[in-house]
Symmetry: C2
Subunit: 698 residues, 2 copies
């Protein structure tokens, strides 16, 4: 065999600040097939940014193994992204064999619910390898003999200088197969690269307003009457409620799934949905995609299913329009047309020993590995399309995703239940166009219950998924008040949060995002360890300590969640003055502060000039009547401005421009801060009414 030389990649600018190159033969099945349409205008409106490399430096090759590309990497660059991860954020010196899996199996990087083949550099650019294969990312791992190698160190005589992971000058990515497609997203900083990626994928999702309310999932054997009773219980205990999730037992058979209502537990689905709908409650249905022989679509789907079953259910090939139509028509007729609001799509991830084997066949002829790698986005996309046809927004859950998911109304979750890992996952999601919920299932103590509630209240989905443990928000009476307080705070922040999501949609700015995407933030990393130990560390490997436990929500709020038993914690403040959310007091500027934790508060900090619109508490977001008065909080000393977004909260009309923005402005007049509000601009009549100004730091 002769080996092809590395070819210089040929770049074409496919959108402002976005370039594409292809090596070999591009695949017909890729994650971007399931992304939205690039937002060309929004991309053009970003600060211009240059192609980040010398044009002739990135190279590619087809060889005996498949296709590979090599992207240069500076000695001090950090690399973020590559999808959902529960540990660490800087991916440098790691190898990620990306492979959709049930959850991160310890140390093997790349086995994740969402192996997104996109990374962002600390130097302010992004790279997407648009493949549905299982790509391997070598992130500054390994050296080539034709590169400028570091000098070898004799390990025997000078252990200090020796490293099992010597510095390397490239990110290399390979796939099996005949080619691959690669995109580069420019930026003047990492956030802009992320914005370009999200906008190229259609912009971030704007959930329906109710999607940002309180979600609660019922026991799998729940019947219609129990749901109605549960709603009453929430009201009685003074907890808001917006969405009820039904677990597998709403169906006549699961698992595998029938997708048909169980006639015993839900004899009158429409009546049930009408009843709860009258109370403003949305219904979300759990499903996994494996089709029971009992399902009413089982026979129709048979020609479009793959060779292998999962849990004895057939697996539809949704690359085929016929298969999509069967499922979607069924779901529309049986669920959506009577008021179902969305789905929780479970087990599209799956351990290898649960799912179809790599060599399974599907009627479309696509590689089973590729179908598995994008099965999550494929299902999100087809449901999203049908919801869009119905002009009804949806918001739901899914357990696997990939690239191109920014515009899809689904939030990731996991069977894994580590609180600390949940926060890291939330942080990492922001690099990859993903949303993540640190949902609550159970707790060993009232303290843990509070801490988990506080974290989930500052996340894309406030969900209690305690169907199995049977816990309710008030299950730990000693802390019910504290739990109620943070749920109320989350609810009151809805105008701010909803506006942050509109920024995600229109500008690609993640509503929850890693600190390294914030200007003025200095990422801190330490390499620790590195001491040779015959049994425990024979290669004197170091561990990287990173700060992955705080993040930004919207433009101004820094969230620093507290874990159970954590009596104090460090908070790294970006440059600029920062203020305590609760008191308005100055806390620091560009420094690391150590705070004592209080059970009743999740630490929140607001940047100087930050403007935060808050509404009154509401027990249900769909039942708010009349104009909504706002308390506009301002923090710090500086003037500021804020564009408050509003729309109907339910349809896709906002995509046609049916929304409005209200400009809130704070100026200092004669030494005193003063606020002003413009009339709402745009065709949508804003529902926000009178405002009161609160200058928290004066």
């Amino acid at each position: 065999t002769t080996i092809a030389a590395m070819d210089v990649l040929q770049w074409a600018e496919v959108a402002p600040g976005v370039w594409k190159a292809t090596i070999g033969q591009a695949d017909p099945l890729t994650p971007l097939n399931y992304a939205g349409t690039p937002k060309q205008d929004a991309l053009a409106a970003l600060e211009p940014a240059a192609f980040p490399f010398e044009k002739d430096v990135p190279v590619g090759q087809i060889n005996a193994h498949g296709a590979n590309v090599r992207i240069p990497l500076g000695a001090r660059e950090k690399i973020y992204g590559l999808g959902l991860d529960f540990v660490g954020i800087n991916r440098r010196k790691e190898v990620h064999h990306q492979h959709v899996d049930h959850y991160a199996q310890g140390k093997l990087k790349g086995r994740t619910h969402a192996p997104v083949p996109f990374y962002v550099s600390s130097d302010g650019y992004g790279v997407l390898v648009n493949t549905a294969h299982r790509p391997s990312f070598y992130v500054g791992s390994g050296n080539r003999k034709d590169s400028k190698l570091p000098t070898p160190v004799d390990r025997t005589t000078n252990k200090k200088g020796w490293s099992s992971r010597p510095l390397s000058d490239a990110v290399e990515v390979s796939v099996t197969g005949d080619g691959l497609e690669i995109f580069v997203f420019a930026g003047n900083n990492p956030l802009e690269a992320v914005q370009r990626y999200n906008l190229y994928c259609g912009g971030g999702v704007l959930p329906p307003r109710w999607g940002l309310g309180f979600w609660h999932r019922m026991h799998t054997q729940t019947d219609a009457a129990t749901v109605v009773q549960e709603i009453a219980d929430f009201e009685e205990h003074g907890f808001p409620l917006d969405v009820i999730g039904l677990e597998p037992g709403w169906q006549s058979f699961a698992y595998p799934c029938s997708f048909d209502w169980d006639p015993t537990r839900f004899p009158d689905p429409k009546g049930f949905l009408d009843t709860v709908g009258d109370k403003g409650i949305r219904i979300n249905l759990w499903e996994n995609p494996y089709i029971s022989p009992e399902s009413s679509i089982s026979e129709a789907m048979k020609p479009y299913t793959g060779s292998h079953t999962v849990w004895l259910g057939e697996v539809a090939d949704y690359t085929l329009p016929e298969a999509q139509k069967i499922l979607l028509d069924h779901h529309q007729a049986k669920h959506l047309d009577i008021g179902v609001s969305g789905y929780k799509f479970d087990e599209v991830d799956g351990y290898d020993y649960w799912l179809w084997p790599d060599h399974a066949t599907f009627p479309s002829g696509h590689d089973a590995v590729q179908i598995r790698q994008v099965y999550g986005v494929m299902i999100q996309n087809m449901l999203m399309n049908r919801f869009r046809e119905l002009n009804q927004r949806t918001y739901g859950l899914v357990r696997s995703s990939n690239a191109g998911a920014s515009n899809l109304g689904f939030v990731l979750y996991s069977d894994y239940y580590g609180h600390e890992g949940y926060i890291t996952a939330l942080v990492n999601s922001s690099f990859s166009g993903l949303l993540w919920t640190p949902e609550i299932r159970n707790a060993d103590s009232g303290e843990e219950w509070v801490r988990r509630f506080q974290s989930v209240c500052f996340s894309p989905m406030l969900q209690l998924d305690a169907w199995n443990s049977g816990k309710k928000p008030w299950s730990y009476p000693e802390v019910t008040g504290i739990v109620r307080d943070v749920v109320e705070l989350r609810t009151r922040l809805l105008p701010y949060l909803y506006t942050a999501f509109s920024e995600y949609n229109q500008k690609g700015v993640p509503p929850f995002r890693a600190m390294v995407l914030e200007s003025g933030y200095k990422s801190e990393e330490k390499e620790v360890g590195g001491v040779l130990h015959g049994e425990k560390n024979p290669y004197a490997e170091t561990n990287r300590l990173e700060s992955t436990d705080q993040y930004m929500m919207g433009p101004s709020i820094l969230v620093a969640p507290v874990l159970e038993k954590q009596k104090q914690r460090d908070v790294i403040l970006p440059q600029g003055d920062w203020y305590d959310f609760y008191t308005g007091a100055f806390v620091g500027n560009g420094e690391t502060i150590t705070i004592k934790t209080k059970l009743e508060q999740i630490p929140l900090f607001v940047k100087d000039g930050g403007i935060i619109p808050m509404m009154p508490m509401a027990a249900n977001l769909s039942k708010i009547e009349g104009k909504i008065p706002l308390e506009i909080r301002h923090y710090g000393k500086s003037a500021g401005a804020y564009e408050l977004y509003d729309d109907d909260g339910e349809t896709f009309d906002f995509e046609k421009g049916v929304f409005s923005t209200t400009r809130l402005e704070i100026r200092r007049v004669d030494g005193e801060l003063a606020g002003s509000k413009t009339a709402a601009k745009g065709p949508w009549p804003s529902r926000y009414g009178e405002v009161s100004w609160v200058f928290m730091s004066e």
Copy 2:
């Protein structure tokens, strides 16, 4: 794309009881390239056994993903093998993505030092998928919609019957690429299938006699004088010593490796080797294969190295004869010709972030993944060939292997250091033509020191690898006597052990082997757990409890090692009467006994009629003078016979028939047991002399 149908495999009998089928285009680079020549006569001498399936049932296919085969699997069959594994032995319901790796990364099956694509069924046959790709084995995992599926169970209403791993009727194996080659080994029981596999790979290795003695590795910065002193220390403390291992620092540069002697620490290699050789001590050299720029072969090798470095060392492409010749000529001139006995080949496994990437290129044009997958056997084989040319046996260590390794004189080891896992690894090795050493590196207590010594004394290599901890056999004075006793016992058993290895060589019977390869043994498995727990076990998965903590050594001895802190243990006795090795007392028959452990003994049991030849203690196996008297122990009540093997212990002349066997026979004459010994048969004059008979159970 149209999907090819599954084709019936076409089988050709390539040796007695061994069949081969090919699907698509067979690969040029496979593990069997590095195996020995099939022992056709020995295969023919085995009990005849039929092809284990209906000829038209195993099927294969080429599809979008690559090539795959499907082998039928009975509902009650158990599957063993698939290489080195530290956990469990029955591989049913598992998926193994075979991938050479530094060590088993927790739960991900197939990531191992030795991913051998060969399995043995409890029904008595073996299957080898002869590939250097990374095959995926789906061992009764997953179902096809065209198979007879189990009946789905509604999980919601009947959790008991539901399983996340429903029973399946096949083993399916897939690889990327254009084809694969598959071998079936018949047998009347699992042992015969293993024998056929080993014999087809050239028979098991027969180590040089000294290889079964005491191995001790020196600190990496050791010099020649220190080695000589260490030998004296062993003598002074009354411990035997046969092999000294030199760690990286014997070289002028490491890592990467120069392979050249360090002129400071070893200024006169030949003088050093002569000195220690006079004392009967062999020298084993540590190496990894990554070539330092400082090496004397660096320039010559450059044209034959791959695109990427490991730890900044170049990686030779040993599929090329030119590359082999450069290394072997160097090693012969610099090491072997002056008396080096063998090598410890480290880091041919390696984490993905240490080794070359999957898309690296090599001058031969072979896929880098394939080169990595067989790099261990490739290096073992080329060294073995050179040793054979020199008519000098070798015995050494290696950290990765694959199929076809039975005949290669290397023992596997790991950086992992779990005592329990070490025993399981020893057991699993016997299914895959591998040898494993539970080498000792350190201990937290004298008790652990004893327990690890006892285990390693009943393994293929008695090695103390405590160079880093600095421990010596006498480092725990309170147990030195006990340690000395078990080392003495191991030494005294040499005639028995060496004969067991000759059975490995001539008949393919592993000298250390899993109980399920022993007739009359009933494997016990329990499925436990299966209780739904929202956070800890959401799929109500069961755990399989298996007995992996005992094994057979040679024809008659059952070894039941004791872990530190283990005050009692169960021993499962196969059918037939069993006797305590130390007392000769009857202990049971086809039952599970519970024994109280004693610190001073590793529990050993001997089957009825077992004959065990033991020699006197020897401080060095190469320095034994004159005829060796034997104590022949007999256990139980039954008559028995034993063929005691002997040869020169050093050369390959035994392969040309230069060996002898002495028949030892026990009969009952007038109610009394009596022993008889024939003269040695064969051209080699046996070194064994007078015998004394000891009837342990009379």
